[in-house]
């Protein structure tokens, strides 16, 4: 379970362009559920996700992961926790060009110090599940939109994380691929993972797999806390 207590994230503090991306957010997110953060652009969805996913530190407030406070952990520990707990699917996919699908998928596991063969086996299995096996040794540039999407998904899963965070995953997809993605997210839920999604796509937030929708506006949560 993830708990946020009175989280603020303020950029450019003390400067004329000071800007509060997230304000006064207090939240409890249940595990093994799909939670969608909905709101217009600039509402702080992305920032909130990055805070939850230990990618950034809040300006003030506290964050707890399964009861353990992570707000003030040093970078090393935070990164390790993030690596092992969270899998990210970015809006822009953010795959690394010039290297193969397989290597892209394995990258998040490199710093773990695991044996290469073990990581490779996991990656191959993911490729199989996502029907990407023939593309294992292809360079990213040669993939279709759907294949790239699935590669990003596989990469998010390589460390077998408990939480999947997806930031506007359907933003650049057509309907067919969007449906595919929602199906993938459903599967995450089946695998008892916590799924956090930021989206303003009705295809996503009106899907039946969604357990909870949190509305954000101007960095604050709208409506009654659930």
């Amino acid at each position: 379970m993830i708990e946020l207590k009175n989280i603020y994230k303020i950029f450019n503090q003390g400067q004329p362009n000071e800007f509060a991306a997230v304000q006064e957010v207090t939240l409890e997110i249940e595990p093994e559920k799909v939670t969608v953060f909905k709101g217009p652009s600039g509402s702080g969805k992305t920032t909130l996700l990055s805070l939850i996913g230990c990618m950034a530190r809040p300006t003030s407030g506290r964050i707890f992961l399964s009861g353990r406070e992570i707000t003030s952990l040093p970078e090393r520990f935070l990164t390790e926790i993030r690596r092992k707990t969270f899998g990210f699917i970015f809006q822009q996919l953010n795959l690394i060009k010039g290297i193969t699908v397989l290597e892209n998928i394995m990258l998040p596991a490199y710093p773990n110090g695991e044996k290469f063969s073990a990581v490779k086996n996991r990656a191959m299995r993911l490729l199989e599940v996502l029907e990407l096996t023939p593309k294992a040794n292809s360079k990213i540039e040669w993939l279709s939109g759907g294949e790239a999407q699935r590669t990003a998904v596989a990469r998010a899963l390589i460390n077998n994380p408990a939480v999947i965070i997806a930031d506007e995953p359907t933003a650049h997809l057509d309907t067919k691929l969007s449906m595919e993605l929602v199906g993938t997210l459903a599967k995450f839920k089946e695998d008892q993972k916590m799924v956090l999604i930021a989206s303003h796509d009705p295809l996503v937030y009106e899907s039946k797999i969604v357990d909870r929708v949190i509305h954000l506006r101007d960095g604050k949560i709208e409506g009654p806390p659930t």
Binding site: T47, M55, F88, Q92, L107, G113, F116
Partner: protein
């Protein structure tokens, strides 16, 4: 062995990363290796020669007396010898006969000498391997010399010095005193210079002073000056060497500059992605370290190996033309592989460290990027 696995993994990605620009990076390694090769070849070569000189010239004459008139070296009168030999500390002395002969057939200069021991019969000569190879003359053959008075002198080759002696005797011709005189003329009362053997080394400066007092028209050369000359031969301050060293330095600086001038947008983005998927700052820096080290270490090792093979297995075949100059006759540089390890170490620190550092430093700022940067763009 977690740490070790992590190293290997990151190294793997560094290699993938470099292989993305296969052509460019291979060219880089090639040029870098060439640079190390050139530098190392010059270092190995000059050091080996210096060492050899310091070893074999240890028994060169302790004291040599030359006479000069009006800035030109002249024959020295043998009557100088007696008073000099009487100086306290002088063990023995003799008049040395030697000179140069220009052979128009091949355009080479020979050094002619009359030896003290193992004198030759009149009409016979011993020659250096270089002469034998260039003139294609062998024991039993005759060589013709034109004497100072226009006469032709025929001398038969009795012996050719072995090729191992080329470094000191490649252009040498030993002959009998009679033949020397016949060839060059000059009176028997004169010699080219005087060589002295001294009992006590520490008395050398005093003896030199006394000789200078006795005969102000003379010039003294001490053995230690001979040895010191070869110690500083090919020094970095000498002509060509400066160009080579400065050139190499410039090249290294250019490489490092290219690296240090900062990361491209693409590289920055990639580091952002790596951080986003869970790489720490130290992981990213390790990546950059390997990227730099892979190139510089490979180049260094290959350059050194080829340089050694070049200098000691092919007798510095590529350097020889540069050293030949206009000479027709030159020794084959079959050098003994004396290596100065401090030079190798210096070369290592000059080639590997700066390049690697130049790869890491500009990445420092990018490596400390916040992981959420890719999400914010």
């Amino acid at each position: 062995m977690e740490g070790w696995e992590r190293q290997k993994n990151i190294l793997d990605f560094s290699l993938s990363s470099l292989l993305r620009r296969k052509g460019k990076n291979l060219a880089l390694v090639f040029v870098y290796t060439l640079l190390v090769f050139t530098l190392a070849s010059v270092l190995f070569f000059t050091h080996a020669i210096k060492r050899e000189a310091s070893l074999i010239l240890q028994d060169s004459p302790e004291l040599i007396v030359q006479k000069s008139i009006a800035g030109r070296q002249e024959q020295i009168p043998l009557r100088y010898l007696e008073p000099i030999q009487k100086i306290r500390g002088v063990q023995s002395g003799r008049g040395r006969l030697w000179g140069y002969y220009y052979d128009p057939i091949i355009g080479a200069n020979y050094t002619l000498m009359v030896p003290e021991k193992q004198t030759l019969e009149s009409g016979k000569i011993s020659i250096g391997q270089g002469i034998s190879k260039t003139r294609l003359v062998f024991p039993g053959d005759t060589m013709e010399f034109r004497s100072h008075d226009g006469m032709l002198l025929q001398l038969q080759i009795q012996q050719v010095f072995p090729s191992e002696s080329e470094l000191i005797a490649s252009d040498l011709i030993l002959l009998a005193e009679d033949d020397f005189r016949r060839l060059f003329g000059g009176s028997r009362e004169y010699a080219t210079d005087l060589t002295l053997r001294v009992r006590n080394q520490r008395e050398l400066p005093t003896i030199a002073l006394k000789i200078a007092e006795m005969f102000p028209d003379t010039r003294i050369i001490l053995r230690e000056e001979i040895l010191r000359t070869y110690e500083s031969i090919f020094n970095w301050r000498g002509g060509m060497m400066v160009f080579i060293l400065v050139g190499a330095l410039l090249a290294f600086i250019i490489f490092a500059w290219d690296k240090a001038s900062g990361l491209s947008l693409e590289e920055r983005r990639e580091i952002g992605i790596l951080k986003a998927v869970g790489w720490e700052t130290s992981d990213v820096l390790l990546l950059k370290f390997w990227e730099g080290t892979i190139i510089s270490l490979s180049s260094f090792l290959m350059g050194i190996i080829w340089a050694y093979a070049h200098v000691f297995f092919t007798s510095a075949a590529l350097l020889a033309p540069a050293l030949k100059g206009w000479a027709v006759l030159y020794p084959e540089f079959k050098l003994t592989p004396f290596i100065d390890f401090s030079q190798v170490a210096t070369l290592f620190f000059l080639t590997v460290v700066p390049y690697t550092v130049a790869t890491i430093i500009p990445s420092w700022r990018a490596a400390t990027i916040d992981p959420d940067s890719v999400m914010r763009t």
